[in-house]
């Protein structure tokens, strides 16, 4: 996708030939995030036209109890320490950021009075400063006013390495100043095109200064408010049992009129996804259950009961296959898959190309994932102007032809070989029923093309761990190809695409903490990726990022398989908005139950 094509596409959104939503979906298909797509539109002056949300209740409260279910319970309620989604969501009940991302990637003000933009003077033309105006009259749950001091404090708190906040990445390279009681100014070290990281979305939840100021740095663990949050959110804290339950009650002083609708909220954790789906869809014991990682077949069967249904939320999760560029069988300096080696057979582009043609994505979607994984959403047969490069193809015939042409001949055992090197690969993934089924589908196709796959499945807790002593973790990648889901971090794909840069190569030296586990190295890619960092023209930058994505896909360093939206179970009466770019509870204050 060239910059020019992008611009013409944006123009067609501007004059109404293409809907905003279609545009965003297409950009996501090209490897961008929805927030970035929206940023392009805003940059090009296409007005933000949000779909209005019909919030029906006409008074605060009276909605009874809201019961929501996570199959892992929240373990802590300080957003700056929130390790997993469960903790971020648990914290989001009580804490709020300056702005959130809605499902279409639009920024929606929460504690901010308005979203900064170049037009309203909030974003400087040189991309070096951003000024946020805060919403007046917001109160913490204990009645103290919410001011710029609180916002500045969060920056100080999170950027201190001694605090060990997981949100540090958003805050360490910026400077935050208080302009007046309701205005803050963020200054960046270099021109930053994507400025909405600090104070926005998941990493942006704001904790009160007056409860945490004595507990910064090394003392951060001791703050009583870590377990008894005092926030600005729609519900006030009642009770918390780590790993089990979080309870809240209505905040009568909430800063949006008539909200929230429910009198109490209860977030229960534990159990498994299937029974969570049952508790919502079949028995309606609960109103909402998060992330149903369940085969679609089961969900369809449950839905026939009629008390609830499934909500599919588009986000940035891609189930993909990584192709090792290094040799996993040779040990160099105490590590296999060393960046100093080259894969004996996969280094041949023809082999990689053939492999990418042997992934039957359509069957994987149809027979395994159903509504929970879409082969067509990522890198797709989108309309004509995109089709050029980004179609995927499943053809055993063509794969055979490519391999024949490259000189890989079938031996007596039916496995292709060249110069004594056989096309035999170890294909690893984590233990998870859909993954094992996908493995089987791919193995079958490969067999027909003369490639032998040895399937290996590893317990998730080992595969996804960073344990240096274990050879079976995905960063070590002691196999030829491997498959798992990677989450595009909200909201900027720049970070996401860093996983193919040479600087991020996982090695023994960096204890395999580099995120480039395929060890893909390409100077052209590195250059483009670095350049996109400070490109201020949103459209140009998007084109660069798309190109980054094209390079790795064309080079078959990675083979996207299915795009996996989040799937929630929701009772029929509950009305809510979700977002794949922010917490599932980003709009909790607007949830209500239809009478």
């Amino acid at each position: 996708m060239e910059e020019k094509a992008l611009r013409s596409l944006i123009a067609s959104v501007a004059d109404g030939r293409l809907s905003r939503r279609d545009f965003v979906t297409r950009m996501v298909g090209l490897g961008l995030s929805a927030p970035l797509a929206v940023q392009m539109l805003t940059h090009a002056g296409v007005a933000v036209a949000q779909t209005p949300y019909a919030y029906k209740p006409t008074k605060r409260g009276g909605g009874g109890a809201l019961k929501i279910l996570w199959w892992q319970g929240a373990t802590l309620l300080n957003p700056h320490f929130a390790v997993g989604t469960k903790d971020q969501d648990g914290s989001r009940i009580f804490y709020e950021p300056l702005a959130s991302w809605d499902g279409d990637g639009n920024m929606v003000p929460v504690l901010a009075a308005e979203i900064p933009s170049v037009q309203n003077g909030g974003v400087s033309g040189d991309g070096l400063t951003v000024t946020w105006k805060l919403k007046p009259g917001v109160q913490w749950h204990d009645g103290k006013p919410f001011t710029a001091d609180d916002v500045v404090f969060n920056w100080e708190y999170a950027r201190d390495p001694a605090t060990s906040a997981v949100t540090i990445a958003a805050y360490k390279d910026i400077t935050v100043q208080k302009v007046d009681d309701l205005t803050i100014k963020i200054t960046f070290k270099e021109p930053t095109p994507f400025w909405a990281q600090a104070f926005v979305g998941l990493s942006g939840m704001i904790i009160p200064k007056h409860h945490f100021e004595n507990y910064t740095g090394g003392k951060s663990r001791e703050a009583p408010a870590n377990l008894k949050p005092v926030g600005t959110g729609p519900y006030k804290f009642v009770d918390f049992k780590p790993g089990d339950i979080v309870r809240g009650e209505i905040n009568q002083n909430y800063h949006i009129p008539n909200r929230p609708h429910f009198d109490t909220i209860e977030m229960k954790g534990g159990g498994d996804a299937v029974s969570a789906a049952r508790a919502v869809i079949q028995t309606a014991e609960f109103d909402f259950a998060w992330n149903m990682q369940v085969e679609d077949e089961i969900l369809l069967k449950l839905e026939q009961g009629g008390k609830g249904k499934i909500a599919v939320v588009e986000g940035g999760n891609i189930e993909h296959i990584g192709v090792n560029t290094t040799d996993p069988t040779t040990e160099v300096d105490g590590e296999r898959s060393s960046a100093k080696t080259k894969h004996p057979t996969l280094s041949d582009p023809a082999v990689r190309k053939a492999l990418s043609m042997l992934i039957d994505r359509v069957s994987v979607e149809k027979f395994i994932y159903g509504r929970t994984g879409k082969a067509t959403a990522a890198f797709v047969n989108n309309p004509a102007q995109f089709k050029s490069k980004k179609t995927f193809e499943f053809s055993i015939e063509k794969a055979n032809k490519v391999l024949d042409e490259a000189g890989w001949a079938k031996g007596s055992d039916g496995i292709r070989a060249k110069d004594g090197k056989k096309l035999k690969f170890v294909f690893q993934t984590s233990i998870n029923a859909p993954r094992q089924k996908t493995q089987a589908i791919i193995k079958q196709a490969c067999q027909k093309a003369g490639i032998d796959l040895e399937l290996k499945s590893i317990v998730g807790s080992v595969f996804f761990s960073s344990d240096v002593g274990n050879p079976d973790t995905y960063p070590k990648f002691y196999a030829d190809i491997q498959m798992f889901t990677t989450t595009q971090p909200q909201p900027d794909p720049y970070q996401f695409l860093a996983q193919f840069t040479s600087a991020e190569v996982a090695t023994k030296e960096n204890k395999w903490q580099g995120r480039n586990y395929t060890r893909y190295r390409n100077p052209e890619y590195d250059k483009l990726h670095t350049a996109s960092r400070s490109e201020l023209d949103a459209v140009k930058r998007a084109a660069m990022l798309i190109q980054c994505n094209d390079i790795v896909v064309d080079d078959v360093a990675v083979i996207p398989v299915v795009y996996r939206p989040q799937v929630h179970a929701v009772s029929n009466a509950l009305r809510a908005r979700y977002s794949g770019w922010d917490s599932s509870l980003w709009d909790l204050s607007g949830w209500y139950r239809e009478a």
Binding site: L69, Q72, G73, T75, L76, F81, V83, G84, P161, A162, S164, A165, V166, I168, A169, A170, K172, S203, G218, R221, N226, L227, D239, K241, P242, G243, D244, I245, R247, T264, E266, K268, G269, G270, G271, D272, S275, R278, A279, Q282, T283, E285, F286, S461, V462, F464, S465, S466, D467, G469, N470, D472, P489, Q495, F496, A498, Q499, N510, Q513, R515
Partner: protein, 319 residues
């Protein structure tokens, strides 16, 4: 007696130390890392996980860490969870009530079924009652709890819609309603566990009673004209109880340990689910504390069983 007790307690100390050392080493050597989730998250720089490891002392040698843990434990400091950063004793105390209620009641229920059924079955072996009891016992312990649990959920929650299947520790009702709600949600997990326990216990009681009931002194008692009720209660059951006591005493620690599978199915916030989630998260301090308390209880109840033998059978002397 006093001397015996003292000796047993002294022997317990090195074995507990040994247990804790083995546990600690196994945990330290096991794959995984409490901050694994952080390293796979591209938004979090690797330095954060590294800083946390240093802060929580995870990079020190195993023995240093063990020593530190042991000293703290001796002073009553159980440490804090790496995951929730809450003190471990608080976490355990939060989970204990649900465990004690559900598992405790299920044990009582199991005993209440197993004792009379086992004794009655043994009194007339191979009678119809015995056959029926045996059949149920075999069904009971050959069905795993996760299966019976799911079947009960299917019947009582989904088809009949009588009972909730998500256990809630926070019930807002008061008075009788509070008790009723708690009972309602505890019925199914209790039934599942009691069925499983009662099945094996019935078999134990039956065979123990069978062993005793044929002995000469029982015949003598009967010949003397002692009433059947008295013969069974005073002469048979008391002697037959010794193996049963061993079984029950060794199951007592399980009261604390919870029932991992059942707790998972019904989402009971008990010790078992705490243990399993800590193991999955590699939360060493919590795993250590739970397993260590568990081993203490095993040692303690073994001792209790030995002391009970002496009460049940005065021929057993402590020397």
């Amino acid at each position: 007696m006093g001397q015996y007790l003292l000796r047993r307690l002294l022997i317990a100390v090195p074995s507990l130390l040994g247990i804790s050392l083995v546990l600690f080493c196994v945990l330290a050597l096991a794959p995984g890392d409490p901050f694994g989730e952080l390293t796979t998250n591209p938004n979090v720089p690797p330095e954060v996980a590294a800083a946390l490891r240093v802060k929580f002392g995870l990079d020190d040698p195993i023995l240093v860490r063990y020593w530190r843990w042991l000293l703290a434990m001796l002073q009553g400091d159980w440490g804090f969870s790496f995951v929730s950063r809450v003190n471990v004793d608080t976490l355990i105390m939060q989970r204990l009530p649900a465990t004690l209620v559900v598992i405790g009641l299920s044990q009582v229920l199991a005993l209440a079924i197993a004792l009379p059924v086992g004794v009655l079955a043994a009194r007339k072996p191979y009678s119809i009652f015995d056959q029926i009891a045996n059949t149920f016992a075999f069904i009971g312990f050959s069905l795993p709890t996760f299966f019976t649990g799911l079947v009960l959920i299917l019947i009582f929650s989904i088809w009949l819609d009588w009972l909730p299947f998500v256990y809630r520790s926070d019930i807002s009702a008061t008075g009788w309603r509070w008790y009723w709600e708690h009972l309602r949600q505890a019925i199914m997990p209790m039934a599942v566990l009691a069925l499983f326990q009662a099945a094996s216990m019935t078999r134990y009681v039956r065979s123990a009673v069978l062993d005793v009931i044929r002995l000469d002194y029982v015949t003598t008692a009967r010949a003397k004209g002692v009433g059947e009720r008295r013969v069974i209660l005073k002469h048979v059951v008391r002697n037959a109880l010794i193996p049963v006591v061993t079984l029950v005493a060794l199951q007592m620690p399980a009261l604390f340990g919870g029932a991992i599978v059942t707790e998972q199915i019904f989402r009971i916030p008990g010790i078992g689910s705490l243990l399993i989630s800590s193991i999955l998260a590699n939360d060493t301090p919590v795993i250590m504390a739970v397993t260590f308390v568990f081993s203490c209880l095993v040692v303690f109840f073994n001792l209790m069983a030995d002391l009970l033998y002496g009460w049940l059978d005065p021929r057993i002397k402590f020397s």
